[in-house]
């Protein structure tokens, strides 16, 4: 049943959302790499005044095994205020949680007990395949007219094309594939939009066989993973333009458009250049009537002793940064870049999006460095800052350390572990400082690995806004 007044977590504009109260809870996807035990949504206490601050305070197991929880999202967000199809009196209460490996999509209700979300629906892989023709659901975004879910693979064992499925807001049934005309697009990964401009953007990773058993060296060196982004007419659901970054730039993954609906730019992170193992951040922007990309950040690989490197990297004698997630603050001022290989989270001031300025860095983990958390200097860390989420007010940054089961095993063969760190923005320097009181890890996650974090009430990568 709907509310009498709008959900208080909906904000018409990013400016208003930046004034939102601090989150009290965070939801983290946790998965069992062995596929023997059920995956779970772990609930973290993020209220600094609470006795259980920084601890796992809730745990909801899924009914099956082998799902490999990865990304997930809210059923509704600030886009519900968009004037074309407004429905501001629905509630932000359900988490839409896909299993990237099983292709099941779970719906969890956080309202009865926010610390113990309850499972209310499971969309089986067969239904997703039959209705939308897709498998391997990934990114979830709450649209004004439905819930959009990207998917990497095709149905019935087909490799592709991957694309976007739309779910009904109310019943969570799969309405079908979103695309009316996909043009040359085949590979899929992330998507987001400039909603008020009727523009949707998609990025490319690989098909199921290219990723599920680990990164394939021949495919990478053969430049076969994705290296383009696509622009679509969001109203007509048609492909408009493919922009190729160059085939040495393998795997443009996370897409972070400006939250300000009057702006027409966004950032995309590229995992690796096959020429020098560097990672890069590109800006997409309008160029006359078309879209263009400009590389605005280059992050070089760090030289290393081959003896310290996993087999995959020994021949190169260097650690690639492996930029695998980026996140833009709600005020569009700061971009956070996860270098999962070198174990570093870098913060850039992107007030001028064409000329980012590096303003902060935190080192945690890393393939070679294994940098410990400053509050626990005796514990070398595996993994690195990977999924990054920013609070709506931009003052707190949460990072978790697993990338993707089979890829974790290749880059951290002695075990990636499990940890979530919280970084506070230093109001003086504008840099980042790890919070000594917030570092859930290891056994707190019951042997499971941790991936995406979603914040109660919304975060920097959940909501889109129709008013500047």
């Amino acid at each position: 049943m709907t509310r009498w007044t709008p959900d208080p977590t909906f904000y018409p504009s990013p400016t208003l959302a930046a004034a939102a109260p601090a989150e009290k809870l965070a939801y983290v996807a946790a998965f069992d790499r062995a596929g023997q035990r059920p995956d779970a949504i772990a609930v973290l206490d993020t209220d600094p005044d609470s006795d259980s601050y920084g601890r796992v305070v809730g745990w909801t197991e899924l009914p099956n095994t082998g799902d490999e929880l990865h990304h997930f999202g809210w059923n509704a967000c600030s886009s519900a205020l968009c004037p074309t199809a407004p429905h501001p009196h629905v509630e932000r209460r359900y988490l839409i949680v896909p299993g990237l490996r099983s292709s099941r999509i779970h719906v969890l209700d956080t309202k009865p007990d926010p610390r113990r979300p309850s499972l209310v629906k499971v969309i089986e892989a067969e239904e997703l395949g039959k209705r939308a023709g897709y498998s391997r659901p990934h990114t979830v975004h709450c649209g004004p007219d439905g819930i959009y879910v990207s998917a990497l693979g095709g149905s019935d064992g087909q490799e592709g094309p991957g694309g976007i499925a739309v779910l009904d807001h109310t019943t969570f049934e799969v309405r079908g594939a979103w695309e009316a005309d996909r043009g040359p697009q085949f590979l899929a990964y992330d998507f987001w939009w400039h909603y008020t401009q009727d523009v949707l953007v998609t990025s490319e990773w690989g098909t199921p066989s290219m990723i599920e058993d680990g990164i394939v060296g021949e495919l990478l060196l053969g430049r076969r993973y994705g290296h383009a982004i696509h622009f679509w007419d969001l109203a007509k659901r048609r492909h408009v333009q493919r922009v190729d970054l160059g085939d040495q730039y393998q795997m443009p993954l996370e897409l972070r458009p400006a939250h300000d609906p009057t702006k027409s730019y966004g950032f995309v992170g590229v995992v690796i250049s096959v020429e020098d193992l560097s990672a890069s951040i590109w800006l997409w922007h309008r160029d006359g009537d078309t879209w263009a990309v400009t590389k605005v950040i280059d992050i070089p690989a760090e030289p290393a002793d081959p003896a310290d490197l996993p087999d995959l990297l020994k021949p190169f004698g260097a650690v690639p940064p492996l930029v695998t997630d980026i996140d833009l603050s709600v005020d569009d001022r700061f971009l956070h870049v996860s270098c999962w290989g070198t174990g570093e989270l870098i913060r850039y001031d992107v007030s001028d999006p064409f000329h980012p300025v590096r303003v902060g860095s935190v080192r945690l983990g890393g393939i070679v460095n294994r940098t410990p958390h400053p509050a626990f200097p005796d514990e070398p860390l595996a993994g690195g800052p990977q999924m990054v989420e920013i609070s709506r007010d931009g003052r707190r940054v949460y990072v978790s350390n697993s990338l993707y089961g089979s890829w974790d095993d290749q880059f951290y063969p002695d075990g990636v572990g499990a940890w979530v760190a919280k970084l506070d923005v230093d109001p003086e320097s504008g840099g980042l400082v790890p919070d000594p009181r917030f570092f859930p890890r290891g056994e707190e996650f019951r042997g499971l690995r941790v991936h995406q974090t979603r914040l109660q009430g919304g975060d920097a990568s959940s909501d889109s806004y129709c008013f500047p």
């Binding site: 709907t2 509310r3 009498w4 208080p8 904000y11 199809a85 501001p88 009196h89 629905v90 008020t196």
Partner: protein, 212 residues
């Protein structure tokens, strides 16, 4: 038509104009997106045109039908339709779907037409239209020839209604755009849909009672 009828038509128009879903919010979004008030002002006439079309279809149909059919039949059919539609709006969680925000004037009119139709804006005028004596009443009552005159009255009623709707929508849009800011939506966006559905049901009951 009596003064009370005109007042009722205008009052319902104001009610429709007040509903953010009927268009003023879209106009505000256009103004803010382009950072000029002219964009807001330019969006409202197409929105009003779409609303007018949606309401006029119902009004003309009812007035014309009444001229040639026994009033009771129209009233009972209309009343049942209204109550049913109102209950459906009240109980259904489904919402209007429309993707796309960069609309031409024609598309904006189409959006407004569909939005008004989906919300049953025209149906809400039924009790007012049916309270009036049929235009064809008199020597030609029951003749097909009376239909055009009836339809004309209906169109005129729709125009009055839409003028009130446009006036209120314009006032609210400017107030939000110039003075209050969109932050007011968070507090003041009362769930009009529920009230709206209640009004539909009430209008249906009034119509049915009138027919009895």
């Amino acid at each position: 038509m009596t003064g009370a009828t005109w007042a009722a038509l205008a009052g319902l128009g104001a009610f429709h104009g007040l509903n953010p879903a009927m268009g003023w919010l879209f106009a505000v979004a256009r103004g803010l997106q382009e950072r000029r008030r002219a964009a807001l002002l330019a969006a409202l006439p197409p929105i009003a045109a779409g609303h007018l079309a949606s309401v006029a279809v119902v009004a003309a149909l009812v007035s014309a039908t009444r001229s040639v059919t026994a009033s009771t039949v129209v009233a009972v059919t209309g009343g049942v339709l209204l109550v049913g539609f109102g209950l459906w709006r009240l109980l259904s969680d489904r919402h209007f779907r429309w993707a796309g925000m960069r609309l031409s004037a024609a598309q904006l009119t189409a959006w407004s037409f569909l939005m008004s139709a989906a919300h049953g804006a025209g149906l809400m005028l039924l009790p007012v239209l049916l309270a009036e004596p049929a235009v064809g009443a008199g020597p030609h009552a029951g003749h097909l020839a009376a239909a055009p005159a009836g339809a004309l009255t209906g169109l005129f009623a729709a125009a009055v209604h839409t003028a009130a709707m446009l006036g209120v929508a314009l006032a609210v849009a400017l107030l939000v755009y110039e003075v209050l800011g969109v932050g007011v939506l968070r507090r003041a966006w009362f769930n009009v849909d529920r009230l709206w559905a209640g009004v539909l049901v009430a209008a249906g009951v009034v119509t049915l009672l009138g027919a009895a």
